[in-house]
Amino acid sequence: MPVNAGLATLSDHMFTWSIILYSVALIAYCGEYAFGRRGKVAATSPERELVGAGGPSVIKVGSMSGAKAGGSDRSRRAPQAQRFGRLAVAATVAGLAVQLTSLALRGAATHRWPWGNMYEFASVVGAAAVIAYLVVLVRLPQVRYLGMFLLFPVVVLLFLAGTVLYAPAEPLVPALRSYWIAIHVTTISIGTGIFMVSFVATLLYLVRRRWELAVEAGRTPTRFPVTLGSRLPGTDILDRMAYRTVAFGFPIYTFGIIAGAIWAEAAWGRYWGWDPKETWAFITWVVYAAYLHARATAGWRGTAAARVNMVAFATMIFNFFVINMVVSGLHSYAGLT
């Protein structure tokens, strides 16, 4: 069936609009961050917080995990920050809706699942990351302003998708005309999006950790990005956010790889052949597995585990950009010429 050019163009416009809306959200998150006052509080004194119901009060740097802590934190925020925060979330949701419409229109224009090349795949990953962030937000409303740190890479990714990686709406080669594309690519991209949220949480964890070390040692951090630490949630909350997202994304990513293997068995005659993309999926999988193990190993918890998380994410990005664009393999559907 021929490609419906009208729908394809509309999809492209919607894609641009989603980037614009995300950018608006990004700016609004920055506003929330800038007007948020909790940074000052945290910077001047270690937080005194009541942890646990009925328990004695404890002094603990960076523990902000209890529901009470979140509540008191929110009430401490300036009203402007609240307004910016709500605008940011509204723009994020609107951006997501527009982006999903863009994907749906591309699917309608080409009569296929709209994730057959790098542009489309990157778009799905961006959408998955935003959805994962919104889900985290429902559970941990106090981390709302972290949206800024997530939307920044999302906007960069979508910008790259719309420029360098862009591929016009076209039908797929026969190998991709299979229902497995819906299973394999969907799960892989959801996993990737979730890992992206985990990566952001980990990066912030490392920043906050250095800030806490400095504050504990009685120094006032002056160097960027450590200075950001004063306005970040405590390391325990960031660590938990990083862990839970990986714990959620890992089975999905695993399933995605297995679905790829099942598809490969039908498409290429073997379930596994160490094609470069397969090899890097394997590497990513192994390093995320190492992260989960590191978090349960004495001496590896904390910073070391966080570094493993960063490496794991780096291998995934490497797989997407370098393997797709530089190394050729069976799995070359990038749609780039």
Partner: protein, 557 residues
């Protein structure tokens, strides 16, 4: 994070031991080789070693994706070695061009798996013991757990405990009575986490076994079949290429024949993208099986008992008619040409006429399914769809050198024969269908058109089903081990008049039900903690407490 003597136990402070693969410490034996072996074993099976091995495994895979690999593309490896003569030889010796078959790669994953067995087996024992044994003794001061609550209840402690146990459906409970009349209930659930974790690790082992079975007893044979030409049977020498597993000696392959490739069809979208490839074949299964028909398509192999048949490639074979000077007509002279431009299927190859003609005759050149002319006047192909087939060939006469016994590509001619003068270029021509070229000796060569060929792959992998089963178990095990949380709940129920050791929230009004009849009253202290990653334990705890205090446990009307 460390919980000092006076900090309350918070979920995050509890060791996430459920993920830990470290077995319980073993009693150390004194000196000697036994101790050494024991220590080495302990070190190998420690979590830290497993972590290091995981990293090594990831690292060892990297060259396998960045350097060309023999099993994927031997020609690329040869080109790479030719381009980097010095160190590529060393790399080659160390197996860097076939990383996944090297001893060092195997050593990494085998060590990892030994380490894995080393921790799965003791954990299996521990887990079985944990499932069989009772939850631990209730601690004295429940308010120091991450979640705690306390409320009064009607009835004597033993009655309240019995009722609580009834309400704690899904929890494994044990009721104990202490000396001072206090009754405790310890409850635990979430054993599935460890079960899932063990399933996951065990499934990894099974996966490895399945993969190994495929590598040892599997095979892969590839053959190029041209439409209307005879097919082949499942025997090693008949394949164009055959990749046996380590223990496949080549005899006794499953009896199976592809009798012929009846027709190959490529469908195209209006914009020229291929939409589907189809190969209609006739095959027979078993000894003297009856011929059957099937259509192989991309993503749709033919699956038979123990064998899978795939369509993996296609191309064209130009057809010529050669009329000798004496008038004899040799019809249907044809050979498959290999695509050199995948998008337009411009192909290259050679047609050799060896028997019944002296001197021997060869055509070497390109074939275009849809011939056009490029800026330099040379033939190109405009489309992969066979609308206007054309050939641009150089005609050679002389000795092709095939009798020398040296192997020769069927897709090209031996240039040494040309260099030595044994084979001479006698003409060159660009022909469309029906056009001919006449040689000086009167031979006439007519281009008749083309037919399609398809490469068919026959695969056998006895481990595949095991691998699939293991993969499913891996996902299920992961889901359980990452989604389920192991959590404990403790109840300490004391008679209301006993000394108030617990810090009870006395502002709580006594339940209406408590006044209803029973004289005995109790105070229930509840504490709970999630042993791994607290998650939404707070919510669950609140719900359980609600359920426990919901209605008066004992009613005497």
């Amino acid at each position: 994070m460390s919980a000092g003597p006076d900090t309350p136990v918070r979920a995050g402070d509890v060791e996430p031991s459920e993920l830990s693969t470290q077995p319980a410490p073993v009693r150390s034996w004194r000196g000697g080789p036994v101790a050494f072996a024991r220590n080495s074993w302990r070190r190998l099976t420690s979590m830290r070693t497993a972590l290091v091995l995981l990293f090594l495994l990831a690292l060892a895979s990297v060259p396998g994706s960045l350097l060309p690999q023999r099993p994927l593309n031997p020609a690329k490896v040869d080109a790479y070695i030719a381009d980097h003569p010095g160190w590529s030889r060393i790399l080659d010796k160390a197996g860097f061009f076939d990383v996944f078959a090297t001893p060092w790669f195997a050593a990494t994953y085998l060590l990892l798996f030994v380490s894995l067995i080393g921790c799965v087996v003791p954990r299996l024992r521990q887990h079985a013991a944990a499932m069989l044994s009772a939850p631990p003794v209730v601690p004295r001061r429940l308010e120091r757990l991450s979640s705690s609550a306390s409320f009064p209840a009607a009835g004597a402690p033993a009655e309240v405990a019995a009722d609580a146990v009834r309400r704690l459906r899904g929890w494994k409970t044990v009721t104990r009575t202490e000396d001072d009349g206090v009754v405790t209930v310890a409850a635990e659930r979430g054993y599935l986490r460890e079960t899932g974790n063990l399933i996951f690790h065990a499934a990894l082992l099974v996966l490895l076994v399945g993969v190994a079975a495929g590598k040892l007893w599997g095979y892969q044979g590839t053959v190029l079949l041209t439409e209307t030409q005879p097919g082949i049977c499942n025997a090693v020498p008949l394949y164009d290429s055959f990749r046996p597993g380590k223990l496949v000696n080549g005899s006794g392959l499953a009896p199976f024949c592809i009798d012929s490739l009846d027709k190959f069809t490529a469908d195209y979208d209006p914009n020229g993208t291929p939409s589907q490839f189809r190969a209609d074949i006739t095959y027979s299964e078993g000894e003297n099986g009856a011929p059957q028909k099937d259509t192989l398509r991309v993503n749709h192999p033919l699956r038979l008992e123990g064998i899978r048949v795939y369509l993996v490639g296609h191309g064209f074979a130009p057809i010529f008619t050669v009329t000798r000077p004496d008038g004899t007509v040799l019809k249907d002279i044809s050979a498959p040409f290999l695509p050199v431009v995948p998008s337009t299927l411009l192909s290259e190859g050679a047609v050799k006429l060896l028997d019944g003609v002296t001197p021997q005759l060869a055509l070497y050149g390109t074939f275009a399914p849809f011939a056009g002319v490029d800026a330099n006047g040379n033939m190109t192909s405009l489309s992969p769809q066979p609308g206007n087939p054309g050939v641009a060939v150089v005609v050679y006469q002389g000795d092709l050198g095939v009798d020398s016994g040296a192997p020769q590509s069927v897709y090209s001619i031996d240039q040494r024969q040309v260099a030595s003068g044994a084979l001479k270029e006698v003409a060159s021509a660009q022909l469309t269908r029906g056009k001919s070229v006449k040689l000086a000796d009167g031979t006439q060569i007519t281009f008749e058109g083309s037919r399609e060929w398809a490469t068919i792959q026959v695969n056998h992998d006895p481990g595949q089903t095991v691998v699939l089963g293991a993969a499913v178990a891996i996902v299920l095990g992961l889901l359980l081990s990452l989604a389920v949380r192991r959590r404990r709940l403790f109840l300490r129920i004391r008679p209301e008049d006993s000394p108030d050791r617990e810090s009870v929230d006395n502002s709580e009004p006594v339940d209406g039900g408590a006044q209803a009849g029973s004289d005995a009253r109790s105070v229930v202290a509840v504490g709970g903690l999630a042993r791994t990653d607290a998650g939404s334990f707070e919510t669950e705890f609140a719900r359980v407490v609600e359920r426990l205090r919901d209605s008066p446990p004992v009613r005497k009307d």
